[in-house]
């Protein structure tokens, strides 16, 4: 008899094999186009026009596309602006949403029902672009990044999600904190928010994605190239095919007969998605943690 453990022979069924193969195929359908874009962007411009859509290894090697893209005076500032708007905007979103959710979950709040009905009506009935535009104009926010940040400061949908998380916190915890002399701000920041971390993480991700993808409002309200977002610039270069502006005056004569415009656009796409690809794994780990600590004793 063997000492200690029993070894179990690992078996791999046909079903698992088929499932694994299907999952790999599914993963390939998502990965191959991205890898093809990356490969195409790093390829020699003389050879990249002939590259197949399935090739994931560069044909030749050249950094010319990235040289052109990174020398463009609008892309990196737009990337920075998008990061700025996302970080600042999301911070404002979380602050206001958690404060509103806390207030609306207080049991003794007067006119709570009326306020909730009002908010839900606002959520369901969008007044449209024109009233919003006129409001932004009258507030003097035209051309400012604050026009994009403040307009979507609180989403009622995410507010309701946050309220549910706060409602899941046992009332006894709040009462005991209040009895111990904690004020509302202390209760919110020291007790409620730590206990609702999962919910906050969830809506942070939702808000951040909305902020990062902001295109329409940025396109209307932000008028200067130095202030605009990455999505506006991406649309101009990748969707509207404005390659002349992408290449720029100083480069167009030298490189117009050499460049593969498709590969150039692919380089623009890679530059745009790199920050998201870098940050996402760090953000993802927060969603694997469950931080609702049991604090109620007895």
């Amino acid at each position: 008899m063997k000492k200690g453990s029993l070894e179990r022979r690992r078996t791999f069924s046909v079903g698992q094999f088929i499932l694994t193969a299907l999952m790999l195929l599914l993963a390939a359908t998502m990965l191959v186009p991205i890898l093809n874009i990356v490969a195409n962007s790093f390829s020699d411009p003389m050879k990249s026009p002939g590259m197949s859509g399935l090739r994931i290894i560069p044909d030749g090697f050249s950094l010319l596309n990235y040289q052109i893209v990174l020398s463009n005076t609008t892309i990196l500032p737009a990337l920075f602006n998008s990061v700025k708007i996302t970080v600042v905007g999301t911070a404002i979103n979380i602050l206001l949403t958690t404060m509103a959710a806390y207030t609306l979950t207080r049991p003794k709040l007067l006119f709570k029902r009326t306020i909730m009905v009002f908010l839900i009506i606002m959520m369901l009935f969008d007044p449209g672009t024109v009233p919003e535009y006129l409001t932004i104009k009258q507030l003097g926010l035209m051309g400012s990044q604050w026009s994009v940040i403040l307009v979507t400061a609180v989403s009622v949908y995410y507010l309701i999600i946050m309220m549910r998380y706060f409602q899941a916190v046992p009332q006894e915890i709040c009462e005991s904190a209040l009895m111990d002399g904690a004020g509302h701000m202390r209760l919110l920041f020291s007790i409620m928010i730590p206990l609702a971390k999962a919910g906050i993480a969830t809506i942070t991700m939702f808000y951040a994605i909305v902020r990062w993808n902001e295109y329409f409002r940025a396109g209307i309200y932000i008028t200067k190239n130095s202030q605009t977002t990455l999505q506006v610039i991406l649309r101009q270069y990748v969707v509207s095919n404005d390659t002349a502006t992408l290449i720029g005056d100083k480069n167009i004569g030298k490189y117009v007969n050499i460049l593969d415009f498709n590969a150039l656009k692919n380089a623009t796409i890679v530059v745009a998605i790199v920050p998201v690809l870098i940050l996402y794994p760090f953000v993802l780990k927060y969603y694997t943690k469950d931080v609702l600590a049991g604090s109620v004793k007895g």
Partner: protein, 483 residues
């Protein structure tokens, strides 16, 4: 006494009459101490660029020498796609420019009364009038808000010299460009394995139409059918014949099956890779660029050959409905500013202006050696900030072969040689839905016919639906305008 007074009054009246009949003194623009500020906005013209600032200063100096004192202020374009952002910014008052280049979206501004009618300015101009072609004049008559001194956009067919040599069709296509000969040549290229496909498209057969339309009888956008009604070309027998030709080509494997989903960059990619036999590019600078690039990609033997239209009569009829791009003057600008803005446009159409526009800055983009222009290394960084036309550029001063390749100049000459004016109108807003409806239906039927999903005879079914979906209303409207 009465006689003297009467005589004096008569003399006074005569003097007044003579004064009124006298030629008005040339209206000076501004003064050396108070030049008129003209705010200029154009796509990809960066006010922070030193060369642009130098250009503005040079224009001011040259105009001042003519007694026209302007302060040309270059403005930064609003963020985003130019064609979307500029009309929006202008119509909301966020953009305060006097001289604006449009590349789409101008009709909205014109309908809001934001664009100045240029008719009178052009009538009293010196050089703009000279540079205008017949189609410019016709377009201005229909839509007097945009002006664009440029060759008309015609897609000229280009094939490779080595390919034509290999199939022995070089002389044939130049001298007898019949549809049959083109078909024979394109089929020979594909069957001989020289290329994968004869030609392609960027979502449609529009570029191929530029060379085949007239050969099949599609002579204008609006035509009269057999019962005397005005119809758009899409509902004519001629268009049916053209679609039948494309369907035959598709069935024979001559047309790239990806043409429907391809973008222009994809088509270019295939031509440079040697997969396409024929390529249609805008005459002039674009032909120049493509001819140079194909040589870089495929070698010297792959020189581009510019070809005449099928049938040898005309390339596609040139639309005179309106300019699709060009310069407009802000109607809200003060009168003297509008006059100064047009004076800038007129100066840029003058010989001096053409030199600045086409050659750039002396000492930077070109030098003058023994009275002849020699381009510098930085010449490739320069492009025209006002007019695309080469007309007015003194050929004794600059040898045109240094500006573009021979094929590009040839394409400009052929576009003029094989030119026909189109019959088209600008539709009012209430007619646009009918237009959209019939063209949408046409796209559906024509695509299915070319791909072989429908027989060619289904075109007759389309024609019936054309009339049911707005064709009758369009015919009535077109009759009132065209007759």
């Amino acid at each position: 006494m009465k006689k003297i007074i009467s005589l004096l009054l008569t003399l006074a009246m005569l003097a007044t009459l003579c004064t009124a009949m006298a030629e008005p003194a040339d209206a000076a623009i501004g003064s050396p101490d108070a030049p008129v500020t003209v705010r200029y906005l154009c796509k990809d013209v960066d006010p922070a660029d030193e060369d642009i600032q130098a250009m503005a200063t040079l224009i001011e100096e040259k105009m001042a020498a003519l007694g026209q004192y302007v302060d040309l202020v270059i403005m930064e374009a609003p963020a985003g796609t130019y064609a979307d952002a500029v009309p929006l910014a202008l119509s909301t008052g966020e953009l305060e420019a006097d001289l604006v280049y449009f590349q789409g979206g101008d009709e909205t501004c014109a309908n809001l009364g934001l664009l100045e009618n240029l008719t009178d300015y052009i009538a009293s101009s010196t050089y703009v009038k000279e540079r205008m072609q017949e189609y410019n004049k016709a377009r201005l008559a229909n839509y007097p808000y945009l002006l664009w001194l440029s060759p008309a956009t015609i897609y000229i067919p280009i094939m490779r010299a080595d390919h034509l040599e290999a199939i022995g069709m070089t002389e044939t296509l130049q001298n007898d460009p019949s549809v049959e000969n083109y078909h024979t040549a394109l089929k020979a290229l594909v069957d001989g394995g020289y290329v994968k496909y004869a030609f392609s498209g960027d979502g449609s057969m529009t570029r191929a139409n530029h060379m085949f339309n007239h050969a099949f009888g599609v002579t204008s956008t609006i035509m009269k059918n057999d019962d005397g009604k005005y119809v758009y070309y899409i509902a004519t027998q001629a268009e049916k014949d053209l679609l039948a030709f494309y369907a035959q080509c598709y069935a024979e494997g001559l047309i790239d099956p990806d043409y429907l989903t391809s973008k222009w960059s994809d088509v270019q990619k295939k031509f440079y890779a040697g997969d396409l036999g024929m390529f249609c590019a805008t005459q002039g600078g674009v032909v120049d660029s493509y001819c140079k690039k194909i040589v870089i990609n495929q070698g010297d033997a792959a020189q581009g050959v510019v070809l005449p239209p099928a049938g040898g009569e005309s390339y596609i009829s040139v639309s005179v409905a309106k300019e699709t791009r060009g310069f407009a003057i802000n109607a809200d600008s003060p009168k003297e500013v509008k006059e100064a803005a047009f004076a800038v446009l007129d100066f840029m159409a003058s010989p001096d202006g053409r030199v600045i526009d086409k050659l750039g800055l002396e000492g930077v983009h070109y030098n003058v050696v023994d009275g002849q222009v020699v381009l510098t290394e930085r010449f490739d960084e320069w492009w025209s900030k006002f007019w695309e036309t080469f007309d007015g550029l003194d050929e004794n001063f600059v040898d045109k072969s240094i500006l573009m390749c021979d094929q590009a100049w040839q394409s400009l000459d052929m576009a003029k040689q094989y030119y026909t004016e189109d019959v088209d109108v600008v539709l009012p807003e209430d007619m646009v839905p009918y237009y959209d409806s019939v063209f949408s239906l046409f796209n559906e039927y024509s695509t299915a016919i070319i791909l072989g999903q429908r027989p060619v005879d289904d075109f007759d079914e389309f024609v019936q639906q054309y009339y049911q979906n707005g064709g009758e209303q369009l015919a009535e409207y077109l009759a009132t305008v065209l007759e």
